[in-house]
């Protein structure tokens, strides 16, 4: 499947590609255009932050890119597969195997333990996951001692880390996260962001994250600024060439202050 994308003459493989995607909510008089003819790609092994004022269409972009929702117009290609022709089951199977998703909150099934939550995608796929694998995934996010706890027995940061572990357990082509630190304090946010940065650096994972926080965005290799359903601005880390694991040392990263300035400019212009 990836071969198609690999054949396209682009510098590095675009794991996710949106071509002229529009999303309109509602009907004629009250229609809201959340995405307006948007074209964007996310290359393998990169960490992208999507920013923009509230209502600019960030969540909508993520939902369309992840196959959680269907665009009104345009084409979405995930890991070489065009989502357009897929039916609901096909979409689900693709999501299950190739896409991970972390929401701002309510990520976990309350009735299941952390371990069961992490194992859920595999079990839905009909695989009986070895306990060791699941425990390793939990250990990866630093929660080896919490396997048997239910969501209401975990802190907010721990819950988000369980969610990340679950999103990664199927080794997806891309991980989407919609304000994963939105409900967390600074310290726990930093833990979750470090975790995301880590999987990009060590495993070459592709990550796309929506955030309002310039500090969070500074963990990314690339920042896309959206306004009114379009790309308004874009920043790339100095050391990033789009290579796998290409994030440079801290000095080569984007600076939160710079991002904040661009954001302010964008919001001022609106």
């Amino acid at each position: 499947m990836t071969t198609d994308a690999a054949k396209t003459p682009e510098p590095a493989a675009e794991v996710v590609l949106l071509r002229s995607v529009s999303k309109v909510y509602g009907a004629a008089p009250h229609a809201v255009t959340a995405l307006d003819d948007m074209t964007i790609g996310f290359r393998a092994g990169t960490f992208t932050a999507v920013m923009g004022p509230s209502g600019s269409g960030k969540s909508t972009l993520l939902h369309c890119a992840a196959g959680l929702d269907r665009p009104t117009r345009g084409q979405v290609i995930v890991d070489g597969t065009d989502l357009g022709p897929l039916d609901e089951t096909g979409l689900t199977l693709l999501r299950r195997g190739r896409v991970g998703f972390v929401f701002q909150s309510f990520n976990l099934v309350p009735a299941l333990t952390a371990e069961q939550n992490v194992a859920l995608p595999l079990r839905l796929a009909g695989v009986r996951p070895p306990g060791a694998e699941i425990r390793a995934a939990l250990a990866e996010v630093g929660l080896s001692g919490r396997a048997g706890h239910r969501p209401d027995e975990l802190s907010g940061g721990e819950r988000q880390r369980v969610a990340v572990a679950r999103a990664l357990v199927t080794r997806p082509a891309v991980l989407f996260a919609d304000e994963p630190t939105g409900a967390l304090d600074t310290r726990t946010s930093r833990e979750v962001l470090a975790l995301l940065r880590d999987v990009v650096d060590r495993q070459g994972q592709t990550v796309v994250m929506v955030t309002h926080d310039p500090v969070a965005a500074a963990h990314a290799d690339r920042v896309v600024l959206m306004a009114d359903g379009r790309i308004a601005d874009e920043m790339t880390a100095p050391g990033d060439r789009g290579d796998v694991g290409g994030a440079g040392p801290a000095g080569l990263r984007l600076r939160a202050e710079a991002i904040a300035v661009r954001m302010a400019a964008l919001e001022g212009s609106c």
Partner: protein, 837 residues
């Protein structure tokens, strides 16, 4: 595997579905077990006789329990002779019975009202404990338990009056036994001949030979088939019991289907967010569907099994209650058979799965984004299918309610129930469309007040209108049932009372004393013979009264017809309207009926003299008889007589009107039900020893309804108790489920500054709102059916019947719902309200 995890973890949510199905299956399997046990039994008095022959029985109309046609005396002799000759038969014993009631300590014994010839004691068999068999005309053998020693004196009330007897012996079973000849004089005809067989006789051979001997004259019964010999009284009690059980089974069956289906569907709806999350994480629609159904199956099997066990345990208790209430004959016991519980189990499971069926389809279509959406806010509360189905049920319900008004009397109740059920389903389906205006109307004044509570309640109920509809449904059902059942019973009873009170124009009424089945001729003589106007049968809701003569009811057997009720009365007085025999002209029911000119004799000559009969118009029409024809009637003693039709009466109180002495001659055990007197009644000192008492008109109108009222009241209790009790539990159940699913929401409320009391206030107010709306809709659902019943009854009685709804009782049910709903809601969020996390 996956689904079972979710069941275990989501225990709270499934408890509701479990409880609904558990109680439902318990209720249904209990009712079904009792229902299937309610077959006829071999009467104890024939228990010791392997082979019996009975007179051929005609099929009677449903609810008619008149005595079957006895053999003519010659046939009895012929049959006994033939049967006696069968090898292995020692004796062929004709069984007869007559009215006899011992007076013990000055009171007629209510439990012993039947006398038999001593020879038939052997059929049970009952044997002598002490003394000797009765001989002569004035000796009796009594049950040993009565405590009378041989040689002591006892007074027996008979159809003639009190008669002194001497106890010759005591027997080890119930019954009063006279010598065969004495018994024969008091009895009517013979319907059963029992064969006493020699020890070791080949019963199959005896049976076959008896069949040949009897030919077409009699039906040979053996083994369980002997149950056909149960008394008509027991058959009638069982029939009433079957009516009760049928009504109960259909009402509670409907309640169970409704509650279980909606609870299971609601259980799925509550977890929309979880299901969305599963979809987002990678569950395919098919997997979600299968999971939801798997959960329903797991919960369903557990709950239905537990329910069946409870049903089996409770069935004997319920059976005993029915016997105590008089809905099943004494000796009734519940037989535990396999299929009723099995059917309840399977049915419960199917209903649970069907309830989840569309919910599972809906769940499978859940968008993965559902997990992200804020709770509440139903975007499409009414699907098109739901709208169509709801409208169809509502329309059908209204159509049936209209049809009730014009239907046959015996179908009124069935159709009314059907109408109410269809309307209940229709309105429950339409609730998401119907409720918003109701919420707005009800909460418009309070939500303009200062506090936030009512605004929160209003917006909360409107946003989650499907949840509001789900919690309203059980209240709707409960109140709808309560209004319908109590209103139906009261309106019907009121209509009958209307018919009855209209005829009481007497100064005094002589009625049997407590426990006495009827009045003897001695009472009639004491009350002044054939004095005054007299009531007849009042079973029709309109009463008949026959001018002149105290009517004596009996059963006659016209050729080619099932048994019919007949009344014997002395020669008619000439009434005010042209000398016609007037019958029952005072009741409103009769006034409404057209009277065809020419049916009644113009002169006085045909006034029911000897050798004549007056025939009810419907019988005459059915048989093509006209005044002047001669017809043949067979009487209670098995003898037939040709009678000239003196008149055809459009409003006769019975199928046939006969001279009183003719009835008495053929039916020695016939008893007079009551005597209406134009003047003062004889004193209690005279009536008391005769087993009678006198009442004023008011006391009469009240007392004559006592037994009926008691049964009707019990009937209502049973129905309301089971159906409404069950739905009441469903009210608590659903509100508990609804509130416990919203704990997160209430925490947010706490976090935004609401005090625990305010949170509980919101929950209590929502529960109250749901109860009020459910009650309004419930009343709305029941009213069309009640109006249908009213116009049906009005047509039948011929007068406008008032619609009686016992509002205090209904308000009691509403109050109970309110308490249940508020308590369930508040209890389930108590923990969440305290913590502000």
């Amino acid at each position: 595997m996956l689904s079972l995890d979710m069941v275990r973890g989501g225990r709270a949510g499934f408890a509701g579905a479990f409880v609904a199905l558990f109680l439902g299956v318990a209720l249904v399997s209990m009712t079904a077990l009792v229902f299937t046990s309610a077959g006829p039994r071999v009467p104890a008095r024939y228990a010791g006789t392997a082979v019996l022959v009975r007179a051929p029985a005609a099929v009677q109309a449903d609810g008619s329990f008149l005595a079957d046609r006895p053999w003519p005396p010659e046939t009895v002799r012929l049959l006994t002779d033939r049967l006696k000759a069968v090898p292995g038969v020692v004796a062929a014993v004709p069984d007869r019975s007559f009215y006899a009631q011992p007076v013990i300590g000055g009171r007629p014994d209510p439990g012993r009202v039947e006398g038999r010839p001593w020879s038939s004691a052997a059929l049970a068999p009952h044997r002598l404990v002490s003394g000797s068999p009765p001989s002569g005309d004035r000796e009796v053998v009594v049950e040993h338990a009565l405590g009378l020693a041989p040689g002591s004196a006892v007074t027996l009330l008979t159809a003639a009056g009190p008669v002194p007897y001497a106890v010759s012996g005591t027997a080890d079973g119930p019954g009063l036994y006279l010598g065969d000849a004495a018994a024969a004089r008091l009895s009517g005809g013979v319907r059963v001949i029992g064969l006493r067989t020699a020890p070791g006789a080949d019963l199959a051979a005896v049976e076959a030979a008896a069949r040949t001997a009897a030919g077409s004259l009699g039906e040979v019964l053996s083994g369980d088939a002997r149950a056909a010999l149960e008394t008509k009284a027991d058959a009638r009690t069982r029939w009433i019991g079957t009516q009760v059980l049928t009504a109960m089974a259909s009402l509670s069956g409907f309640a169970v289907v409704f509650v279980v289906a909606s609870t299971f569907a609601f259980g799925v709806m509550r977890r929309r967010r979880d299901l969305g999350l599963l979809r987002a994480v990678g569950a395919t629609p098919r997997q979600v569907r299968r999971m939801v159904r798997g959960e329903a199956l797991a919960v369903g099997v557990a709950a239905a099994l537990a329910g069946v066990a409870a049903g089996i345990a409770l069935a004997p208790v319920f059976g005993d209650l029915l016997v105590a209430a008089g809905f099943e004959p004494p000796g009734f016991s519940v037989r535990i058979t396999a299929w009723p519980p099995a059917a309840a189990f399977g049915g419960g499971l199917v209903v649970a799965l069907l309830g989840t069926w569309s919910a599972a389809r809906r769940a499978a279509r859940t968008s993965p984004l559902e997990a992200l959406r804020e709770a509440g806010a139903d975007r499409r509360p009414m699907t098109r299918a739901r709208l169509l189905l709801g409208s169809a049920f509502t329309a059908a319900g209204i159509a049936v309610a209209v049809a009730v008004a014009g239907t046959r009397p015996e179908e009124i109740v069935t159709l009314a129930l059907l109408a109410a059920m269809a309307l209940t389903v229709g309105i429950a389906l339409l609730a998401p469309a119907v409720l918003p205006p109701v919420v707005r109307a009800l909460l418009w004044p309070p939500s303009r007040a200062r506090g936030a509570t009512w605004t929160l309640v209003r917006e909360g109920s409107l946003a989650a209108i499907r949840r509001t509809a789900s919690t309203t449904a059980p209240v709707l059902l409960t109140v709808g049932f309560a209004v319908l059942v109590t209103g139906m019973v009261q309106t019907t009873a009121g209509a009958f009372a209307l018919g009855r009170t209209a005829v009481v124009r007497a100064e005094a009424v002589v009625v049997p004393a407590d426990g006495v089945p009827g009045l003897s001729d001695a009472v009639v003589a004491a009350a002044g013979g054939t004095a005054g106007r007299v009531t007849g049968d009042t079973a029709d809701g309109g009463a008949g009264s026959t001018a002149g003569g105290v009517p004596l009811p009996t059963t006659v057997h016209p050729d080619g017809m099932p048994p019919q009720a007949a009344l014997g009365a002395a020669a008619w007085e000439t009434g005010g309207s042209g000398g016609a025999p007037r019958a029952g002209t005072d009741s409103p029911g009769e006034a409404g009926r057209a009277r065809k000119a020419g049916d009644l004799p113009q002169g006085r000559e045909g006034s029911g003299g000897p050798g004549t009969v007056v025939v009810a118009r419907w019988v005459a029409a059915e048989r093509g008889w006209r005044a002047g024809d001669t017809i043949r009637l067979t009487f209670e003693d098995g003898r037939a007589e040709p009678l000239r039709v003196a008149a055809v009466a459009g409003d006769a109180p019975a199928a046939f009107l006969l001279p009183r002495d003719v009835v008495r001659a053929h039916d020695p055990s016939a008893l007079t039900p009551e005597i209406l007197l134009p003047g003062p009644a004889p004193g209690a000192d005279r009536l008391g020893p005769l087993g009678a008492r006198a009442l004023g008109p008011a006391a009469y109108a009240a007392s004559s309804r006592d037994e009926d009222d008691r049964l009707v009241w019990l009937f209502t209790l049973v129905l309301v108790g089971t159906a409404v009790g069950y739905t009441g539990v469903a009210v608590a159940n659903t509100l508990f489920m609804a509130a416990s699913g919203r704990v997160r929401e209430f925490r947010v409320l706490r976090a935004s500054g609401a005090t625990p009391r305010q949170v509980l206030g919101v929950v209590a107010a929502e529960s109250a709102l749901v109860t009020v709306m459910g009650s309004l809709l419930g009343a709305a659902v029941a009213l069309p059916a009640l109006l249908g019943i009213r116009s049906g009854l009005s047509r039948r009685v011929g007068a406008s019947v008032p619609l009686i709804v016992p509002w205090p009782a209904v308000l009691g049910v509403v109050g109970a719902c309110l308490v249940l709903a508020v308590a369930a809601g508040v209890l389930s969020v108590l923990g969440a309200a305290r913590r502000a996390r």
